[in-house]
Symmetry: C2
Subunit: 528 residues, 2 copies
């Protein structure tokens, strides 16, 4: 009885979505993300904060000669136009001045390159798919870019244990498609899956959409191969779920953002691919209700809950404009929306659990309206209202992105307080094009306590930046949050780690950096 | 139809189990585990291999004076009889000669103690519940024992996020019972839960019975507090599921076995407690069939599969003798047995999944006979046939324990080959009491590729040891396995890490040890 009511009245079926193309950020065309014609040099934008360190050697003809002895011609890029793709980030916020990109095909080539650079104090930037959000994979000055894009082979897969071994430069989506054929799933998913590399994912400890279900990479990565700055090949490509023989050093590389060495291979435990999937999209009237729905979902959906994402009203307004579509929830404008995904082994059981849960949530008044996707196309379509937000946030010209962890109760308060602050500064308006800022909006992985605060702007400016920073970081610090949940420190947050880590933690981190990279050639001017 | 058939004919219900007391190794009374009256000193047993390092200072009256200034009288143990409990391991294989046990109550006290020991080159052994299996928590010579048993407070629990913060000395079962009251579960379970400490679990990266479902501690531990050898308090007790700000240094302490510092606090993510649980106990005719049942179970039970344990025939024979009970599978003697546990949010759904899976497995001839527990008492009773094996293995007087990871296909081959070797040496017999060895038996966490090889002996002897070692380690190394899956290196495997790690890995591990503990005062003569 209850279930029928739910399907036919309160929950309207998503009927028009078949016409909506599946919009996933699989490829990130640079031009789409900014109206700025030319990206200013990072060195110019931040000239007051940072200078090139003269301890690093400048690239000379003799260096190029050496690299030519290691790599074939087509693995060496020196043409200025070709370099641009590697020098710039996809948000078009940072631009480096590297004169050289190297694209090794083997671990041994990486080792020879790094040893030479270390011996000669040539600074380097490791680069994966160049999809980062904090300027971590682009040079700041003239660092040599080492791109892993030519190291893109699946090495092996064991269908009994589910352990995949692959080169670092394998694209995430490629790995996941390969696994799908074997009945397995990559334990990580994120918007940039069509471009990002699994090695880059590990180097940045990417979180993404499946963390709620499959846990962090610190748990699922079983082995790594990495090249240390002095050219040492650290071969630790184990394929054992349990191995207590010595310190788990590979953990240091997970999240090190290319500052300790270059990850060249990954061994990772992959779960069985769920046979059934459901997606529900709900309208919720307050942030308090969002939290209650989450607690209830974790209890009632438990083992089948695979994503719990929330989005605020502004994020959906901009996304509707960006997609040129009407919002899937037609019955009105709601302060918050929630996307719930379930994954399990029995469609029938999952349907029943989800419907019971939604029925209860509506009866208790936690959910105002909602939709359940009826097929794969509708699933993709509903997800696009969550996954298109980063793109939609740049609709005015650019976006300041903050990716933070905050205890759940306080999480959305940051978005509210930033909007108050922008309003007090008189610099924000959704309609008035003379204002530099459109609005601050919030969305993210509630299940992980992870908020994405996007400040959508018409242009990047020091004025806006000074309104936002250090305000945002101070706010997070006061709530004992993290200033970087999953995006990393990179260039953007190098100076702000003190808001999330205490002096002793920072001291110990710096000691490790110095221990492995005493010459400081690995990804300088960043991280710490 | 199929389900009825299954319940009434092939699957006989476990009727008599109500009379069986639940036997879990909650408390590990020392006397029960060995018939040896007095445990020989480790220093004597291994006198040819290891000598006291003269660089360590011997305890003097002035040192005691200092400790008395830090701790109250009842936190200092010097009485020889009282020291015995801390000097010996529970298997009664190792005995140290410490003259002093310190039981600090606060992190600051630990810091003062360690700083003093480091300044004075007094070697120390951190000790949790003293339930280890490799002699890692007992002194080898006269090291000072620092017991965490008085640091046993739950610090906080957040019922929205499921994050528990607690002192290192909280007993695992106490933590789990506390969580049960809140609807949560500790993401780790093991036989010694009634005695072991959560800090010790983290220090040893314990795996246990729930790893298959909840993953490793590298994924679930969110923060740690630890004291470094120089007395520095590393406070990294974060409670954020995602935090990418700097190297994840806490990971180094997970599995460091007290060689880098002393863990004093743990912050850990706890899952919702499953509302439904099932346990099935199956008879299987070959090791090949065991593997097939596993692959099938992972596919069909997927998100509700929480344990998949296997046991060989010998392990069950000894357990029957030890428990004084008939085996739950009455229809005959089978080469292998499998215990499957499911945990989920709907009893009805889980029952249906489990019964369908078992029906298929029997139809395909993979399973010969089986039982499904009908209530909590039967669940406990079936588990006791798995959990009593370690105890049952010592029925003759002692046991050589090997805890290893081996790729699944080869896993049981080790037990077979060890039995062949023992037989060729003419030293094994289940009945002939003049032989030093009863038999080699195997069981463990198939789901994690983790075998426990137990060699049940009537007495420990160098002769038996020389038949077993390095044979076992060489065998594992040839299969690219790990010589320590979850028990750690401790004293037992200090010299064998080379069978599982390459020279560069070992060099890097040694460098980290030296980096944090240059005086080598932390748990010497062990690990690496």
């Amino acid at each position: 009885m209850q279930r029928r009511l739910l399907q036919t009245t309160a929950f309207s079926l998503l009927k028009r979505s078949r016409g909506v193309s599946s919009i996933r950020l699989n490829i990130l065309p640079v031009a789409k993300y900014s109206t700025t014609k030319s990206v200013p040099l990072t060195a110019d934008t931040y000239s007051k904060k940072i200078q090139r360190d003269p301890k690093y050697k400048q690239l000379e003809a003799s260096d190029l000669e050496f690299f030519k002895s290691v790599l074939p011609e087509n693995a060496i890029i020196t043409d200025e136009d070709d370099l641009l793709f590697y020098n710039e980030d996809w948000m078009r916020k940072y631009r480096g001045q590297s004169k050289l990109v190297l694209k090794p095909k083997t671990t041994e080539e990486v080792a020879k390159i790094l040893k030479y650079c270390n011996d000669n104090k040539l600074a380097v930037v490791p680069q994966g798919g160049n999809t980062g959000l904090v300027g971590g994979s682009n040079p700041v000055f003239d660092e040599i870019i080492i791109s892993l894009s030519s190291m893109n082979k699946i090495r092996s897969f064991d269908p009994v244990s589910g352990i995949l071994k692959a080169d670092a430069g394998v694209i995430l989506e490629t790995a996941d498609q390969y696994l799908a054929e074997q009945g397995y799933i990559f334990p990580l998913d994120l918007g940039a899956k069509g471009s990002c590399h699994i090695g880059g994912n590990v180097a940045c400890n990417a979180g993404g959409l499946r963390l709620l279900r499959y846990g962090s990479l610190h748990g699922s990565v079983l082995g790594l191969e990495a090249v240390l700055p002095d050219g040492t090949i650290y071969n630790s490509m184990h394929s054992l779920r349990k191995d207590n023989t010595g310190y788990d050093l590979k953990q240091l590389f997970i999240g090190s953002e290319g500052t300790l060495g270059i990850i060249t291979g990954v061994s990772i435990l992959c779960p069985s691919r769920p046979q059934a999937q459901n997606v529900a999209f709900l309208a919720v009237s307050s942030y308090e209700a969002v939290q209650k729905v989450f607690v209830q979902a974790r209890k009632e959906l438990q083992e089948i809950l695979s994503a719990f994402e929330f989005m605020d009203n502004t994020s959906q307004k901009l996304t509707a404009k960006h997609l040129g579509l009407e919002h899937p929830i037609e019955s009105g404008d709601f302060p918050f929306y929630v996307l719930i995904e379930t994954s399990g082994s029995s469609k029938e059981h999952d349907d029943e659990k989800l419907e019971t849960f939604l029925g209860n949530a509506m009866e208790e008044g936690l959910v105002e309206d909602g939709i359940i996707a009826q097929d794969e196309a509708q699933i993709q379509s509903l997800w696009s209202w969550r996954e298109s937000i980063p793109e939609a946030s740049t609709i005015g010209g650019g976006v300041y992105k903050y990716d933070v962890s905050i205890p759940l109760a306080d999480l959305y308060g940051l978005v509210e307080d930033v909007n108050v602050r922008l309003s007090e500064a008189g610099i924000a308006s959704l309609d008035d094009e003379s204002k530099p800022v459109l609005a601050a909006l919030g969305y993210g992985h509630i299940g992980d306590g992870n908020l994405h605060l996007n400040v959508s702007v018409r242009k990047y400016s020091p004025e806006v930046e000074s309104v936002l920073e250090p305000f945002v970081y101070e706010w997070i610090s006061a709530k004992h949050g993290s200033i970087s949940a999953e995006h990393g420190l990179g260039f953007q947050k190098k100076n702000y780690i003190g808001y999330s880590k205490n002096d002793i933690e920072i001291k110990l981190i710096k000691e490790i950096k110095n221990h492995y990279d005493p010459n400081g050639i690995m990804n300088p001017y960043k991280y710490i």
